[in-house]
């Protein structure tokens, strides 16, 4: 071995040793990096990943509370809950995962009906952010047969499930919806306003009426269970749970039988009936016709059916009882008469000679009475019994806007008088200020004449007319008008007792002379039972006395742009028939307001319906 060879070997060895050291350096450096990474994950980020691991493992599953039930005054169920089955898909559990969604739907379509709307809704939900392994409903309201078909084919349909859900059910379907309202699926707009936690497993919310107003009480408090699941979403065990608190049950003043009777009386008509219990202010019946079934809204009405309801010119969706603003016509005359004599502007014995018309000025416009030729000499009593317009033109002219609007106001005109129907409107009480601000005009004597017979600017909802009549029947005593009778067994006389805001409360009306009530009451009894009373036919042959007042509201004419249909126009130009009254006359138990749109006169169209309701309520169904 030569020296140079040895030298070369040494150099080579040195180079090799150097490279080993470099390698060792790299190895240690990389180990430092790896361990730093692990320290970062396990020590620095430990809390974060621990939370993620727990979130992976534990699922907080909300459990919806059972919605409170609604009963009528006799304990009849008005709104209950029943199981509804729907078929749902868990996309992650399909054979081929999400790619198989369409194939699975096609497979299901071979077994049960699934229409394009179902698929559209399903696809929309599929696109929205969701928890992995959560199910998406494809079709609701499966019938027994469909459930069976899916179950039988379950083995070929992984990821397809039939899920049961408690949904609202209204045993009295038609004719109750305008009194109760209904629940429907929560929509995107409502989600923003609802308590996200409490509603995390709730699919329905009160959309209208009592269901909406008492939503917070009816809904209850969500429960939850913490479950341990594996990566495929299978629940392995329940770690912790908290039972939901069911919603509170509510009893209403509503009398389901009376309501049904009222709805039946209004069949084929347009209009409204409101019946109140004058002793409490509770609503006994509230019908708006035509009506519709509430159950179809719970599980989702088809857009075609909804379109038909919405487009119908009968306006079935419109709650006439709460929102229909009608001229009250002659039904306000007792209040106007009271205004005159109690304000002192009209002598109690004031009388006029009625030639069949009234003139503000000599040779001016003729304000006609409904009876050609007039009623001769007319005093207050006769003015109510025979509904003499001329008398009211006269006293209205004397009084002017006030005190007529003051007294109308005391009876609830221009205000929402019901506590627990969120849709109710206040209609219009035309004070001078109102006319100035809305019409930008002064109050003219002609306006007073129209107001005195309940026409012109004055408008009222059927509910307001019933309220007015209740106060009249009670001789000025107010009760809060409301649907609710009791909640969870606790009687409710004012909604403030259950933590709600009362509507504007009005003071009881104290007349200067209490006998004036009797004077007006006597006249209203004679409307029903007097020889010339306008509702004498409806008052005849009764075992009890009743008091009332008819009204006939003139239609101002159809709108220019309305389609011309001779028959329809002729019908739509007819007067609205109105009636308000109570029975028995001396000891009122029921107050009724009836409006039949385009029904003709109040005595022929409205009063007979009220009589039937009185009989039904006071004497029982056999006599009706």
């Amino acid at each position: 071995m030569s020296w140079s060879n040895m030298n070369a070997k040494q150099r080579e060895n040195d180079r090799f040793q150097l490279r080993l050291w470099v390698s060792l350096g790299v190895v240690l450096l990389v180990f430092v990096v790896l361990i730093s990474r692990l320290v970062y994950l396990q020590i620095i980020q430990h809390e974060h990943y621990l939370t993620e691991a727990e979130d992976n493992r534990q699922q907080l599953q909300p459990i919806a509370p059972i919605r409170g039930l609604i009963y009528d005054r006799e304990g009849r169920l008005l709104a209950g809950n029943r199981a509804s089955h729907s078929v749902t898909l868990v996309p992650e559990q399909l054979w081929g995962g999400k790619r198989d969604v369409d194939a699975t739907i096609t497979q299901l379509q071979a077994i049960i009906d699934i229409d394009s709307n179902d698929i559209k809704r399903f696809k929309r939900r599929l696109r929205q952010p969701r928890k992995p392994y959560s199910s998406i409903p494809l079709r609701y309201r499966l019938n027994e047969q469909e459930i069976a078909k899916i179950t039988v084919n379950q083995h070929a349909l992984p990821g397809v499930r039939v899920e049961a859900d408690l949904v609202r059910y209204y045993p009295f379907d038609d004719g109750f919806v305008h009194a109760l309202g209904y629940v429907g699926r929560i929509n995107d707009r409502e989600i923003a306003h609802l308590d996200a936690v409490n509603y995390s497993d709730t699919h329905h919310v009160g959309k209208l009426g009592v269901e909406k107003y008492y939503e917070a009480d009816l809904h209850g408090q969500v429960g939850y269970q913490t479950v341990e699941t594996n990566a495929r979403g299978r629940v392995l065990r329940v770690l912790e749970s908290q039972e939901p608190i069911p919603g509170r049950n509510i009893s209403l003043h509503l009398d389901a039988m009376l309501q049904q009777k009222a709805a039946q009386l209004m069949t084929g008509k347009r209009g409204a009936i409101v019946a109140l219990d004058p002793k409490t202010g509770g609503v006994l019946a509230m019908v708006s016709a035509p009506s519709y079934g509430a159950n179809q809204f719970v599980t989702g009405i088809s857009s075609k059916d909804y379109g038909e309801l919405r487009e119908s010119d009968e306006l079935p969706l419109f709650n006439r009882a709460l929102r229909g603003r009608y001229p009250p016509a002659s039904t306000v005359k007792p209040v106007i008469a009271l205004a005159g004599i109690d304000s002192g502007m009209i002598n109690r014995d004031y009388s006029i000679f009625d030639p069949g018309y009234y003139q503000l000025t000599e040779g001016g416009r003729l304000y006609r009475d409904w009876k050609e030729g007039g009623h001769g000499t007319v005093n207050l009593h006769k003015s109510i019994v025979e509904s003499v317009d001329t008398y009211y033109y006269s006293i209205g002219h004397i009084m002017g806007n006030q005190p007529m609007t003051d007294y109308l106001g005391k009876f609830g005109f221009g205000k929402v008088t019901i506590a627990d129907q969120p849709e109710a409107l206040s209609a219009v009480l035309p004070t001078k200020i109102w006319k100035r601000s809305v019409r930008n005009a002064s109050w003219f004597p002609g306006d007073s004449l129209n107001l005195s017979i309940g026409q012109g600017f004055l408008s009222a909802t059927p509910l307001q007319l019933a309220t007015m009549t209740m106060v009249m029947a009670n001789k000025g005593e107010w009760h809060q008008v409301r649907m609710i009778k009791s909640m969870a067994g606790q009687t409710v006389t004012q909604v403030s007792e259950i933590g709600r805001e009362d509507p504007l409360t009005l003071d009881n009306i104290e007349l200067k002379r209490d006998s004036d009530w009797n004077k007006v009451h006597k006249a209203m009894v004679d409307v029903m039972h007097g020889r010339l009373g306008t509702a004498r036919r409806s008052g005849a042959n009764s075992s009890y006395q009743m008091a009332g007042k008819t009204g006939t509201a003139q239609i101002k004419g159809i709108k220019q742009d309305e389609e011309y249909d001779a028959e329809k126009v002729a019908e739509r130009l007819r007067d609205h028939g109105l009636y308000v009254g109570w029975a028995p006359a001396k000891k009122p138990e029921i107050v009724v307001a009836v409006i039949v749109e385009n029904g003709g006169g109040g005595s022929s169209a409205a009063a007979p319906l009220a009589r039937q309701l009185f009989d039904f309520y006071l004497l029982g169904p056999s006599d009706g």
């Binding site: 080579e12 180079r15 090799f16 040793q17 490279r19 080993l20 390698s23 060792l24 190895v27 990389v30 180990f31 990096v33 790896l34 361990i35 990474r37 692990l38 320290v39 994950l41 396990q42 020590i43 980020q45 430990h46 974060h48 990943y49 621990l50 993620e52 691991a53 727990e54 992976n56 493992r57 992650e92 992995p132 341990e228 699941t229 594996n230 990566a231 495929r232 392995l236």
Partner: protein, 383 residues
Amino acid sequence: MADFQRFVPGTSGFLRRGPSILARSRIDLWLLLPVLGIMALGLVVLYSGAGASQEAIDKQIARYSVAMLGMFFIAQINLRELERFVPLLYVIGVLLLVSVLLFGVGAKGAQRWLQIPGTPRFQPSELLKLVVPLTVAWYLAGRPRPPSFLHTLAAFVLVVIPVMLIAKQPDLGTSLLIGASGVFVIFFGGLLWRFVLLAIVAGTAALPALWMLMHDYQKQRVLTFLDPESDPLGAGWNIIQSKIAIGSGGLMGKGWLQGTQSHLDFLPETHTDFIFAVLAEEFGLLGILLLMFFYTFILIRGLIIAGKAQDPFSRMLAASLTLTFFVYLVVNIGMVSGLLPVVGVPLPLVSYGGTSAVTLMLSLGMLMSIRAQRTSKRMRRVK
């Protein structure tokens, strides 16, 4: 006394103070002990990772035993005497790889196995893990060092042929490891630093070309690695869940069999490629440091053996095998902890599965053989 003993007939070699049993068995205790430590720890974790399966443990112990025997066997061979068979092994290996591509069987879209009727199927690429470093070391040992440019190029060709064949199966993980083992030999063969630099530059430049050659699922893995959140339920799932498993383990871990990520199926492949995450979740950072300690021990011992090896062939081979072991580790742990893309490389000596453990033990057997060669030479000199 000594004289007496020397002349007792039949006792020479037995009573004489000489190489211990350990030395004569050519087993290196400093390599064996950490290996046993890793295996013990590995079995504990595997029991959990395989879902408390006794069957998996039994099978793994059987594999470990075979691997041990293999290691012991290789340690008995003088690798210098094996040297002349290396070219033949290489040719056989490449032919096997070609037949895998032609007749191979496989699963999940990859064709990695060779099934000769009547024999258990096997994976030729595992054989190449040993043959490639042997071949390159044989080639460079017979040439002047530092190797010329042409010789270097030839050595690279020897590496690239099997690497390409394996990448085509496709088995990115294995081809990467084999490529690394060959390149390490060239590096320790004295490749000039400027070539090293050149290779790094060329390698970087070749990345786009590599990208073009990659399969869609491989591209997807890289993309997912760069942004796992982009597909949290799909390809990113593994990385995300693995990081959660490691991170939630903390310092002390959740306890044996208590890992929620591992046992509730959030973590994929808990008994094979992702077993490290199971260890991290259940035994925490302390468990990991223990495992890393064993690994470090093996790596340093391997480098020492390489440093003390007497001939170029042995030391190139020893250094390459040690660093390849290191690459194994880094690729697996890097993948599981989200530092590297998901590449199917098992955690050495811990992951469930036979071939990889056997191959690794054989390479450790080679290291032992190299060390034994050096000591026996020294003993001969003393004599």
